[in-house]
Symmetry: C2
Subunit: 114 residues, 2 copies
DNA sequence: TGCATATATAAGTATATACTTATATAATGA
DNA sequence: TCATTATATAAGTATATACTTATATATGCA
């Protein structure tokens, strides 16, 4: 696994984005699988505009990508992002996002679209 | 090297502290060697109170330790900090602090005290 | 076409943050 | 003891941040 070096200022920008519980959880989630906005809302128990605003920050900075599938917009982690290797390391120290999806599945709230 | 897991909220707190160029540079510096306040001031070209206030945040959170040596107070990285293993990984992606000390040395501004 | 659902954006607001200047505290050395 | 140096703290301020509520946009479906 390669280690991409970042300028200090660039690294600080990325760390600042991750330095918020909501966004850090979001990244842990998309690191597991693609996730649509309404799923974020359900998992994080926050208002839809609040979720959208966090996602915009992550997308604008390039950490995540968005893709429309029908009426839903799915977010995924951007593996081409220059900070991706640092993010992956950070995520090794943070609880995995998978259990959130399992809980959603149990509650029947997981979106399935093709 | 061990990987200490953190709660998401705790990890976010730490990342937020590192999500500032000044503090991230400070951590990169103390990861190399102990550093006193006037050296931080010289290297970072910021006012002494601004430096002290950043150091207080890092110390209060446990990322760094302080130790008085005569008239100087030296700061060092706290290897016993629960987030230390994550920080070490992050620093692999960030420019090393060593060149700053070399520049100080050249300028004759490095403090030597025992 | 028209309504419902999913998402984004805009505007407003309370709080947090990173500085500034002024001052306090602590150690050194004449 | 007094002046100097190193550092911390306090108070003030401008800006950034993370929400809120209201509204706009886009898709799907009857």
């Amino acid at each position: 696994m390669e280690t991409t070096m970042l300028e200090t200022e660039r690294a600080a920008q990325i760390l600042k984005l991750l330095g918020d519980k909501t966004r850090l959880t979001m990244i842990a989630l998309v690191n597991e699988q693609d996730c649509c906005v309404c799923e974020f809302v359900e998992i994080l128990q926050m208002s839809q505009p609040a979720i959208s605003q966090h996602l915009r920050k992550l997308r604008d900075a390039g950490l995540v990508k968005e893709q429309r599938r029908g009426q839903w917009i799915f977010y995924s982690i951007n593996k081409a992002f220059e900070g991706y290797s640092m993010i992956k390391e950070i995520l090794k120290h943070v609880p995995n996002g998978a259990h959130h999806f399992e809980a959603l599945e149990k509650a029947g709230l997981r979106i399935r679209c093709n």
